[in-house]
Every structure is written in structure tokens, then in C-alpha cells.
Symmetry: C2
Subunit: 204 residues, 2 copies
């Protein structure tokens, strides 16, 4: 069975679209296993000399991204609230806690639901995913024990796992999110999800 690694940062807008579509697109490729890999874009941007998201550094790019997200979300029937100026200023959110909690969540059957709920809270309701109360509320809505899961998310093992994920993403050439890798073959962007799965299917 061929594996596609799905690299996402919980603060990444286009990763939101990819996470929303992933399970239904993957259903077309039953011979391909998808492994969800939370990682942090921050250190990867920094290594490229970028001290913020390219969507903040380059305003024209950022403006088009939000308009494009609005169009893509509408096509996919995904609730998205287009940010006002204040919300725009808060982008991108600090995604450290969400990424660590995702690592814990993805070891459980409700992991994909957790990731999608994080994106929905962030880009649908403009909640701050750096706030433990927000992440705790999502865990509770999924029938989980917020305190136990959040404690696990802050364990040394999980912290190390997230650092390893980010380092491996970078070693694979990941420079943005979402990215999809099949071995050393890298596909960048929500628009390449289908091609990544086709590539894995054909290689299988």
C-alpha cells in the first residue's frame, strides 16, 4: 500500500480546504493510505528568511488569497467568514497548541474531526486557536476529556514529535502548506491533492 503524507499547519488557510476535502478525495483511491502530519510553517518560513506568512509580507498576495479562499470555500460549501481588518491582522494564528493537540488527536478515530473543527473554529468563527479554552471546547464537543488531552499535548514526547515533523517536512523540501509527499515526491498546495493521490495510486 502506498502512502501519501499530508503536511498541514493548523493556521494555514489552504490546509483548511485540503483537510475538508481529504477524506472524500481519498475515498477515490482505496489503495492509498493517507497519513496526516501536523507541522509548523513558522520555522520553515524563518529558514527562508521570512519572518511572517507570505500572505502578510506581500499584501497583494494576501488580499487575493482571502478572495480566493472565499471563492473556493463557496464551491466546496465550506463555511468561511471573510476576515475584517482586525481579523486579518490576527492572521496567522499561533498554531503550536493546535498542532500538538492534533498529534494526540490523530492517534484516535476522531482525529480528522478534531483537525477540521480547529479550522472551522478559526476560519468560520474567527476564534483564537492558541487559546486552550478554544481547543478544550473543541475536544469537549467531540466527547473527549479536555484536561487529559491537553496535558498529553504538552508532554515532552508530543513536543518532540512536532519538532521532528517540522524537521522532516523541511528535509523533504516542504516550503508551504498544505503539501503532500509520496516518498520524496513533493506536491504543494490544495490544488495538487488529486495529483498527489493519483501519483501514489500509479506508483502502488
Amino acid at each position: 500500500m502506498k502512502t501519501v503524507e499530508f503536511w498541514f499547519d493548523p493556521a494555514s488557510t489552504y490546509s483548511f480546504l485540503a483537510a475538508a476535502r481529504m477524506d472524500s478525495v481519498a475515498a477515490n483511491h482505496p489503495g492509498v493510505e493517507i497519513v496526516w502530519r501536523p507541522f509548523l510553517l513558522g520555522p520553515i518560513f524563518k529558514a527562508q528568511g521570512l519572518d511572517n506568512s507570505p500572505f502578510r509580507i506581500f499584501p497583494a498576495k494576501g488580499k487575493n488569497m482571502w478572495r480566493d479562499m472565499e471563492r473556493q470555500a463557496k464551491r466546496l460549501a465550506i463555511p468561511l467568514r471573510v476576515p475584517d481588518d482586525a481579523a486579518m491582522e490576527a492572521f496567522p494564528r499561533n498554531s503550536l497548541l493546535a498542532a500538538r493537540t492534533a498529534i494526540v488527536a490523530l492517534a484516535h478515530p476522531w482525529g480528522h474531526d478534531f483537525v477540521r473543527a480547529v479550522y472551522a473554529a478559526q476560519f468560520g468563527d474567527w476564534l483564537d486557536i492558541a487559546d486552550p479554552a478554544v481547543i478544550g471546547g473543541i475536544l469537549q464537543s467531540l466527547g473527549q476529556d479536555p484536561e487529559a488531552i491537553l496535558a498529553q499535548a504538552q508532554s515532552d514526547a508530543v513536543k518532540a514529535q512536532l519538532r521532528d515533523n517540522t524537521a522532516r517536512a523541511q528535509a523533504l523540501g516542504v516550503f508551504g502548506a498544505p503539501s503532500f509527499t509520496v516518498g520524496y515526491e513533493l506536491f504543494w498546495g490544495n490544488d495538487r491533492l488529486e495529483q498527489a493521490l493519483e501519483f501514489a495510486s500509479e506508483a502502488a
Copy 2:
């Protein structure tokens, strides 16, 4: 009749794909008129604080771009030679002469063929499109008089037209190429060609 403006820089890799696909995709939208607008990315990158193509400034992004171009060209059955290191260093080419000549060419029925031939010479054969002999050779292969067309391309009127195109692209929020605009609605990237045409069709 609704108009889509197709903004391309002759040195832009993904504009190559869009130019190659344009006429056949446009055929699916007979109610939409496509206007080809050559412009220069250089001044637009500079205005964003970038002194070169993002594909050169960010090596991981550039490396993935070439691999992705290779995959997309294969899917579209477009000849593309993946650059060796020396060719990579020569990217992006100075596209001033090619853009000016495209402005002249696009007033003629052979204009689209000219643009496609410029991309084929550049990314298929790795010729320097800044060389008048290369552009002249393309004109000759299209049955045109190289001297007469190149003289027209260097006229004040054409120089001013290219500056105007670039200024208008920037005013419309264009930050990369290819871009497609329908009025003030901006779509960025070869992957958005279909959605731009659909948008124009629905607005018609």
C-alpha cells in the same frame, strides 16, 4: 460579451502552461472574449520588495516549481526540458523584447502562435528570448518580416503600451503570472484559468 484579461509575462513558467491551454479552454466558453495582455513581472516584484523571481529567492519553492512544471507539461503533452544548473541560473530571462514584440504580434491573427512559440523556444529549447535573433527567428518561422516587426516592437507607442499594461496589472492587484481578471475580479495562476472563465460566463 464578457471579457477575461489574460496577464502573462513571457519569462513566466506557469504563463507558458496557460498560453498553451488558453485557446482550447476558451473554446468551452464561446460567450467570453479573452484579451491577451503581455506585462512585466519585474517592476511588480520590485514594488513588493523582491529583486528577483520568488523561484530564485526561495530555492525550495523554485525546486518544486521545476518538478511541478515537469509534471504539468507531461499531463498537457507540452514539450518542456527540465533545466540543468546553468539553465536554472539563467532563469528568469529578460522578457522586455519578447513582451514588446508580443504587443505587436497580438494585433495580428498569428499573435497567439507567436506567444506560444516564445515559450516553446525558451522552455523547450532553452534559447534566450532576450536575443533579437531568437525573436527574429520565431517571427520568420511564422512567415513574418523580422526586421519590420522588431522595429515596430521598439517604437515609442509599443514601449508605452507595455508600461501601461504593467501599471494597469499592478493597479488590478496582479502580483504574479499568469493572472486573469474579469473587471476587478482577480484570479491568480494557471490552476485558476477555468474558474476565471466560468466566472466571466456566469457574469455575462
